[in-house]
């Protein structure tokens, strides 16, 4: 083969492989995106926590959502079910409401890029910003620009460390501390209050990791002091990293009884590692947070003990909150959604509602 032909063939092969990879996750998310099952529900009565914020207090002007340019800044690649479902939910709801000009950016896990992305959305004249922040700190340049133009910011799934109702409008997300506590309850039950547990931590620098860790530890300390947390390491919310850390874990701590993974991707990575080490389903109890379809399936297969849901379908709630705000209603400083549990009793029947 002549070099140019060989290069072309190679390029084609790479392209085909890439296309194959890109498709892999699609079938899973497709049904979840269109069905209304598994929609987010606001926690009552504590859902409207904190001081209330009105359009007048915020200092903005009323506009029509349908004709306005709306920006959504996603933090990570749509390469895991949570991000796929989150972006899809925002896009679907915008389409349903007839919001014609929705601009979506993706920071590909690079925080500097996310700052630039949002600044460029502002430069494009967006009237409303929905942001899934990669990191909780470091938003100064964006907040200054948005404040100068009185653009309301709704942050979803993670928080920004700033003042609600002035720097940003509100935060919509789960009670991550509560998720950690509930995960601990599941772990305590699985281990009958005794044993050694490892934690696969999420990515550092954001409130999700911190709160899921604190909730779990606090609950274990108060309810089951005989459970020892003997290993903690970050798996950065990624499947490969979760697998890698678990492989090291079973080398260094062969007597481990339970693994608490702070998201499903890391839990599934841990399952792969355990299978590779010749363990059987149920040998080590795994509890995780998220509620992706693969994880709920893993409960049904016996590999995971329980999953605490963290619902990523932010679209309906984000836009209804924005509409209420524009209509002059008071908006709480955080809108906390209620999440469910998946365990062996309901995994098979609830598979359709997982994302």
């Amino acid at each position: 083969m002549k070099p140019p032909i060989r290069t072309a063939t190679l390029a084609l092969a790479v392209l085909l492989t890439a296309a194959g990879c890109a498709k892999a996750e699609a079938p899973q998310s497709a049904p979840a995106a269109t069905s209304t099952a598994g929609q987010q529900v606001v926690q009552t009565p504590t859902g409207s926590a904190g001081a209330n914020c009105t359009l007048q207090q915020f200092g903005g002007e009323k506009f029509d959502l349908k004709t306005a340019t709306v920006g959504f800044s996603q933090s990570e690649k749509e390469a895991n079910p949570f991000r796929i479902a989150e972006t899809q939910s925002i896009k679907d709801e915008a389409a349903k409401l007839g919001i014609a000009d929705l601009k979506v950016t993706n920071a590909q896990s690079q925080f500097s890029k996310q700052i630039t992305d949002v600044q460029q959305l502002i430069a494009q004249g967006v009237k409303l910003l929905v942001i899934a922040p990669l990191n909780s700190d470091g938003w100064e340049p964006v907040l200054q620009q948005a404040a100068a133009k009185k653009i309301p910011i709704i942050t979803v799934d993670r928080k920004i460390n700033a003042k609600p109702c002035s720097d940003y409008l509100t935060f919509i997300g789960s009670d991550f501390y509560e998720q950690g506590k509930r995960a601990a309850d599941q772990m305590i039950e699985a281990l009958s209050s005794k044993g050694k547990v490892a934690i696969l931590l999420g990515a550092p620098g954001n409130n999700v990791t911190t709160e899921r860790t604190n909730g779990f530890k606090d609950r274990v300390k108060e309810a089951a002091p005989e459970i020892e947390i003997s290993f903690e390491q970050t798996g950065e919310f990624a499947r490969e990293k979760g697998q890698q850390v678990t492989e090291q874990l079973i080398q260094s701590n062969p007597d481990i009884n339970g693994i608490y993974a702070e998201n499903d991707e890391m839990a599934l990575g841990a399952v792969t590692a355990l299978k590779g080490a010749g363990k059987e389903a149920g040998d080590i109890k795994i509890v995780s947070v998220d509620g992706t379809r693969s994880a709920v399936q893993a409960i049904a297969d016996g590999w995971l003990h329980a999953v605490i849901e963290s619902n990523p379908r932010f679209g309906p709630l984000a836009f209804s909150t924005a509409q209420k705000f524009l209509d002059g209603e008071a908006i709480p400083e955080k809108v906390i959604i209620s999440d469910r549990d998946y365990d062996t009793s309901n995994a098979k029947t609830s598979l359709g509602e997982a994302y």
């Binding site: 890109a22 590909q108 925080f111 630039t116 460029q120 100064e140 620098g205």
Partner: protein, 318 residues
């Protein structure tokens, strides 16, 4: 020199600049908001940090080396600057520069004195420095906030709608151009990258030149990190992962040869802006999935490099 040869030579040297001009033109025609000041400013401001690091990398690559540690030094510089800012402006600047300069010195000495491959030495730097940053920030969980208003102003203050780091970058780029083109040190960098043995025979101080190049690269990465921390008002710990590849890409797109011996600062700055403009255009489209965003930016980069390659071939043939 025929006129055709001249044209192709200019094209190769300034290929990135021309593609940049073309993209800006297309972007302005296709999208109303692309050429708006706010958008242009966001591209320029965000590019300035990458540009500062890329200036140092240009020296390294021209000298025939590579520096993979810059992404880690960038994040370390930011964390140290934010930490140091509680003791005032001076500490916020000196602490990251001293630490990063020390790492650069260490890397430079190892590379110059033992003849170990820069790729391996700076890869060790990449891992070690990020580890150090994680140790300082409690595994990345502690984000130090910038307390000193004077330091924060360094990253956020504006002249004519552009923040100070943009002007600092322009100043550094001009100084680097003079250093590279008009001083003995600059000529030595080219000579070492062109043919190290010949340079040594001609009496070029190979070791000390190399050490200086790596110290400079590390200092600039630390400075960019510190300025970025001032801009964000915090020492964000998740920055700079894979940044070294963006920097190297910008330098190479800018016409600097990865094999060393040829290149320049103008091309590097154009390369950095080109990366920023491509991102901005993708954001203007505003509905590409993350996977396709990567495909598009990959294709653009491939196009630029292929064009340069063809042009340099045409130049050699004529």
């Amino acid at each position: 020199m025929t006129s055709r040869e001249q044209v192709s030579r200019t094209l190769q040297q300034h290929g990135a600049l021309m593609v940049l001009a073309l993209l800006v033109l297309v972007g302005s025609l296709a999208f109303d908001s692309f050429s708006r000041f706010d958008n242009a400013a966001s591209v320029v401001v965000s590019s300035s940090f990458l540009a500062i690091i890329a200036i140092g990398m240009t020296f390294v690559i021209i000298s025939g080396g590579i520096d993979l540690s810059v992404g880690s030094l960038f994040v370390l510089g930011g964390v140290l600057a934010a930490y140091g800012s509680q003791y005032g402006l001076l500490v916020a600047l000196v602490l990251p520069l001293a630490a990063c300069g020390l790492v650069g010195l260490l890397q430079g000495v190892i590379i110059a004195r033992t003849g170990m491959a820069p790729f391996i030495v700076t890869l060790a730097g990449l891992l070690g420095v990020r580890g150090l940053m994680l140790a300082l920030s409690d595994e990345g969980a502690t984000t130090y906030l910038v307390k000193d208003p004077a330091f924060a102003a360094l990253g956020q203050g504006q002249i004519l709608g552009l923040t100070y780091p943009v002007y600092i970058t322009i100043g550094l780029a001009l100084a680097a151009m003079v250093l590279l083109q008009r001083t003995g040190f600059g000529q030595n960098v080219y000579a070492i990258g062109g043919n190290q043995q010949a340079a040594a025979l001609m009496g070029v101080p190979v070791a000390s030149t190399k050490i200086r190049v790596y110290v400079m690269s590390a200092l600039l990465a630390g400075l960019a990190g510190a300025l970025n921390a001032a801009r964000l008002s915090s020492g964000v710990t998740i920055l700079g992962i894979g940044l070294e590849l963006d920097v190297i890409a910008a330098v190479v797109i800018g016409g600097t040869l990865l094999t060393g011996g040829a290149g320049g600062i103008t091309g590097t700055v154009a390369g950095v802006l080109l990366l920023g403009v491509i991102q901005s255009l993708i954001n203007q489209v505003g509905n590409l999935t993350s996977a396709f965003q990567q495909v598009v930016s990959g294709l653009f980069l491939a196009l630029v490099v292929v064009a340069q390659r063809l042009l340099s071939k045409a130049q050699r043939l004529s």
